[in-house]
Each structure stands twice: as structure tokens, then as C-alpha cells.
């Protein structure tokens, strides 16, 4: 089911969390709300879920105005960063909760829960309590619990934020596959651009309560709408008046056309990638990402004078002024 957010604003006292936000999430898509913390992405998700009431604007789910409805009748599945597991219930009772509330027949509940536990690979854990599960298992349980009521939309608030790096990577890939299986319209919040790029079909970049850009991961990376998006979706260096990705620069040993002179301060080997930190002739720092082969070939060394030539650069017409915080 599609979601449409129209002109939503939300303030908490003096703090503006959302400012006239409009957004369309196509039915069956997997969308990421990406942005720095305090950017408004969690608030937007909670407004869609009905856990927060917007001060202005509407939320339309499947063509129907959901704004006046409470969370429990919106047909949304919500997954919290810290799982929100019902600690006094077994995994089975947790997953069955929504169905038990709806007073479905016992046999139907058992069958549905078994099916969901298989889907999230927790078959053997039905009788355990949340305290006996790992973080990743708890989050999968929370997902099964949200899916049990067959929500029209699935909303995940930093679902992998509390997990360690390895489990996070596993669950990302798994969420992607799960979405391909279940096809429910999914929106998830993350502050990790890599996570958004890897999992989502559509990314919404939110900053200071406003949408900076909406687009496919590649669009955002290659055609960022402004400096903020450019610097948020990937590493970026400033060269003169232009913005350039560290891997879009070339190091030369001799002066070249459009080349800028600098001295190598440090060379950092990160496996395949080599990061070269320089001070340009005008005193500004810059870092360039290159490969091990290139660094070896050029025999780069610290203290060496080199010329940096940018490949693709990006410049923006209007400068991105940092917005003043609410008075």
C-alpha cells in the first residue's frame, strides 16, 4: 500500500522536528529515511505510524486519510530500535500478540506463528523468553511480531542500530531478501548511508526537519541536489570552489593541467584502499583515495610533493547555507 505524507509539520516545544514535509512512498517499495540524528527522520516515521500527531498536514495510507486514526487502527507494523520485546512473554506469545488481541482462532494463531518463526529463522526458539535471545534474534522476533498482523505498511526505526557491525550487515542483507519475499511497503530509518544504499530502492535524505532530496541510491550519489546530500551520502573533499569525491582524484608526480600542488602528510593503508592525506599549497588539507597498485607504482612517500588532478567535480549554484536553528 502506498503512503503519502502531505505538508507535515511537528514541533516539540521550541524544537522543530519536521517542517512542511511531503513525501510519496510507492506501494511495495523499500524506502530509507536517511539523515543525521535530530534530522527528523524518526519523528516522520512515528507520525506515519500514528505514534505522534503532526501539528499540521496529513498522512494518507492506501489512499485513505489516516491522520485522525490512532496507531492501533492504522494497520502498520512498527519495529523499534531497542526491540520493545514483551519481556514477560515467550517468543511465541510475542509474535502471536496482535492475533491474540484480534481473537483469532487458536489453531490459526499457532499455524501463523509457526510460519513467521520459520520466515525469521527462529523455529527452535518459540518457548524462549526475549532475555534468552541475542540482539539480532530479538530484532527478528520483533519483525515477525510486526508482520503477524499482516500490516499494510512496515515501519522500522533504526532497526539495526543497537546491533554490532557483523550482525548488522547480516540482517541488512536478510531484510532485503525478506522484502523480496513479502513485498510489504517498507520504510526504515537509518543514519548510516551505507545501510541505506545497500538496502533501499528509494532514499529520502532528511536534515533539520526538511527533505533535502529523494531518489534512488545511485542518483543521490552521482547527482546530489546540494552540498549536504553530497557530503552525507559519501566521503567528499573540497578543491577550490568545487566538491569532489576522494576516489575521483588522480595523483601525479609532475605538474599537470588543472593539477593542484600539495605535500603528502601521511599515507594510510586500509587493505585494498590507500588513503593519502595532503596539505595543498594554499595550506588546506585534502585526502585522496587511491588503490594499493597506484600508490606502489608512483612510489608515494610521506613528505613528497605531488599534483592532484580532480576527475569529476560537482559545484552547486546556490551555496548551502546552514539553516539557523529555531529561535
Amino acid at each position: 500500500m502506498s503512503i503519502s505524507v502531505e505538508g507535515v509539520a511537528k514541533r516539540f516545544g521550541e524544537y522543530t522536528a519536521l517542517e512542511d514535509v511531503s513525501l510519496k512512498v510507492p506501494s511495495g517499495s523499500l524506502t530509507a529515511l536517511l539523515g543525521p540524528s535530530g534530522g527528523g527522520k524518526s519523528t516522520l516515521l512515528r507520525v506515519i505510524a500514528g505514534l505522534e500527531q503532526p501539528d499540521a498536514g496529513r498522512v494518507v495510507i492506501a489512499g485513505e486519510d489516516a491522520t485522525p486514526k490512532p496507531a492501533r487502527t492504522r494497520g502498520v507494523g512498527f519495529v523499534f530500535q531497542h526491540y520493545a520485546a514483551f519481556k514477560h512473554m515467550t517468543v511465541r506469545d510475542n509474535v502471536a500478540f496482535g492475533l491474540t488481541i484480534r481473537k483469532r482462532p487458536k489453531q490459526e494463531i499457532v499455524a501463523k506463528v509457526d510460519e513467521l518463526l520459520a520466515l525469521v529463522h527462529l523455529e527452535g526458539f518459540a518457548k524462549r523468553y526475549p532475555a534468552q535471545l541475542s540482539g539480532g534474534q530479538r530484532q527478528r522476533m520483533a519483525l515477525a511480531r510486526a508482520l503477524a498482523v499482516e500490516p499494510r505498511v512496515l515501519l522500522l526505526d533504526e532497526p539495526f542500530g543497537a546491533l554490532d557491525a557483523t550482525v548488522r550487515k547480516e540482517l541488512r542483507a536478510w531484510l532485503r531478501r525478506l522484502h523480496d519475499e513479502v513485498h510489504v511497503t517498507t520504510v526504515f530509518v537509518t543514519h548510516d548511508q551505507e545501510e541505506a544504499m545497500e538496502v533501499a530502492e528509494q532514499i529520502v535524505v532528511l536534515n533539520e526537519g526538511r527533505i533535502e532530496q529523494v531518489g534512488a541510491p545511485r542518483d543521490l550519489y552521482e547527482r546530489p541536489a546540494n552540498e549536504f546530500v553530497m557530503s552525507f551520502v559519501g566521503p567528499v573533499s573540497r578543491l577550490g570552489g568545487e566538491w569532489v569525491r576522494p576516489h575521483d582524484m588522480e595523483i601525479q608526480l609532475d605538474p599537470v593541467d588543472r593539477g593542484i600542488e600539495g605535500m603528502i602528510d601521511r599515507i594510510i593503508h586500509l587493505g585494498f584502499e590507500v588513503r593519502v592525506e595532503l596539505t595543498l599549497h594554499d595550506g588546506r588539507p585534502l585526502w585522496v583515495q587511491t588503490t594499493r597498485e597506484q600508490a606502489d607504482e608512483l612510489e608515494l612517500g610521506e613528505g613528497q610533493i605531488v599534483w592532484v588532478r580532480p576527475g569529476r567535480t560537482t559545484s552547486f549554484d546556490q551555496r548551502h547555507e546552514p539553516r539557523a536553528a529555531a529561535p
Binding site: 505514534l51 507494523g77 514483551f86 500478540f97 488481541i101 511480531r145 498482523v149
Partner: protein
């Protein structure tokens, strides 16, 4: 060595101040044989005192449990003007001496107090009757459930409740299926403390009850009354019953409680 010494200090302290006096009460009650103690306990006045003590507990504990949970919910989950005042007011019975509470009740509900006169005109006598005694018991045992439940509520947070809401639960269903089970040990502990306090209240009751033997006398008041009448067997026997009721409450609590470490 230091650990053994520390243990010794703790045990001696408890022994001298609690175990020995309680043991002496039991010893003195049965000093003249079971028969004498039994006869004293089964006198109509003693049975009435026992019954009245049970009434105090039976009224004060459920009321304070209900109010305590509601009040804890309001204090923890809502932000409003006057919240700090409510928070402080809940602790008032802890801070104020029970005798003062008794006197305050007389001022409001006794003859000459404006609520008291109105009630008296309508045929309700509060002071020197079980009604006033119940009020006093409720007053002194009010904070326990609130103070046990509030920190648990704060700790569990609101995410589980929000999750229940998104899964289709109404506020009442959420409270019964999610909030209540999560706070149940806080409630249980609060109930035990409330019961113990209601059983043992003396000061406020001695002011509002008038201490009429066989009419407004609870077990605690009877212990004192028998003691003043030089009926030591009667006093100690009543004290033993009180002690056993309190022990029973603590035991029930420990049986109900899950083994530590398992949540």
C-alpha cells in the same frame, strides 16, 4: 576475617534488636501455658479486635493498590502543572507522624470540623468509629504501592506499550497484557508493605478510634490496652497473632516471588 567480622556485626545487630525481642514475645505469651493464651485470644473482645484488624487491611490494601498504580502512572507518564506537588504529597504520610495524621483527621471529620458536621447531620459518624479508623489506615499506608511501582514504570519505558498499540491493542488491553505484567513484582512488593503497615498501625488509630474495647479496638490497640491492664498474657498473645500475620505476609511474598536472576 573481615568478612566474618562484618557478618557477625550484622547478625548481632539483627539478633539483639529484632530476633531476641520477637522471640521473647512468643516465650512470654505461652509462659503460662497454651490454655491461658488461647482463652485470652478467643475472648469476644480479642476476636473482634482480630476481625477489625482484618477489615482495616481488607479495605486499605485494595484501595491503596488501585490508587497507587493509577498515581504512579500519572506521576511517571504525564507532565502537568502541579506534578511536583502531587509527588511530594504522596510522601506526606512517610514524613508526618501518625499521631499528627490522627489529629488532622479529627480536625476535618470530627465534631466541629466542617466535613465532620455535615457528615454527622447525615448520620455518618467518622471519628471514634471504624470509618475513621479505615481512613487513618489508608492515609498512613498510602505511599508504598506508588513508591514501589513508579521506578519500575520508569524503567520499563513506553516502547512496549507503543508496540502493543501498533499491534492493535486498546489502551485497556495494553495495560492488562503489557504494563501490568511488567510491573507485577513492584505491585506485589507494594501490597506486602502496605499490608504490613496497615496491620501494625497504632498512632493514628489510637487518636481517631477512641479505643473502645470490643468496638473500635484493633489488635495493636488491644496489645497496649491489655498491657496497661497488667494482663501480660493477653498482651503478648495478641502480639503473637500480629507477628504471625506479618510473617505470613512476608512468606506469601517470598513464595510468590520468582527466583532471583530469572526474569
Amino acid at each position: 576475617m573481615a568478612r566474618i567480622a562484618l557478618r557477625g556485626v550484622a547478625l548481632t545487630y539483627l539478633g539483639l534488636l529484632i530476633a531476641l525481642p520477637v522471640a521473647m514475645v512468643f516465650y512470654r505469651a505461652f509462659e503460662k501455658g497454651l490454655g491461658a493464651a488461647w482463652a485470652s485470644l478467643t475472648s469476644p473482645e480479642a476476636l473482634h479486635a482480630f476481625w477489625l484488624t482484618c477489615v482495616m487491611v481488607a479495605v486499605a490494601v485494595p484501595l491503596n493498590t488501585l490508587f497507587g498504580v493509577l498515581c504512579a502512572l500519572v506521576l511517571v507518564r504525564q507532565r502537568f502543572r502541579g506534578r511536583a506537588i502531587l509527588n511530594a504529597a504522596v510522601d506526606l504520610p512517610f514524613a508526618v507522624s501518625p499521631v499528627v495524621i490522627g489529629l488532622a483527621l479529627i480536625l476535618v471529620y470530627g465534631r466541629g470540623g466542617w466535613v465532620g458536621d455535615w457528615l454527622a447531620d447525615n448520620g455518618v459518624q467518622v471519628i471514634f468509629s471504624p470509618v475513621g479508623m479505615v481512613l487513618a489506615t489508608i492515609f498512613v499506608s498510602l505511599p508504598f504501592v506508588v513508591r514501589e511501582v513508579a521506578p519500575v514504570l520508569r524503567e520499563i519505558g513506553t516502547e512496549q506499550e507503543q508496540a502493543a498499540a501498533t499491534l492493535g491493542a486498546s489502551p485497556l488491553q495494553t495495560f492488562i497484557r503489557v504494563t501490568l505484567p511488567a510491573i507485577r513484582w513492584g505491585v506485589a512488593y507494594g501490597v506486602v508493605l502496605t499490608t504490613a503497615r496497615a496491620l501494625g498501625e497504632f498512632g493514628a488509630l489510637s487518636v481517631v478510634s477512641g479505643k473502645l474495647s470490643g468496638r473500635t479496638e484493633t489488635l495493636t490497640l488491644r496489645v497496649e490496652e491489655r498491657f496497661q491492664a497488667f494482663d501480660l498474657t493477653g498482651a503478648y498473645a495478641a502480639a503473637v497473632v500480629l507477628a504471625l500475620m506479618a510473617l505470613g505476609t512476608l512468606l506469601a511474598m517470598n513464595l510468590l516471588r520468582p527466583r532471583e536472576g530469572v526474569s
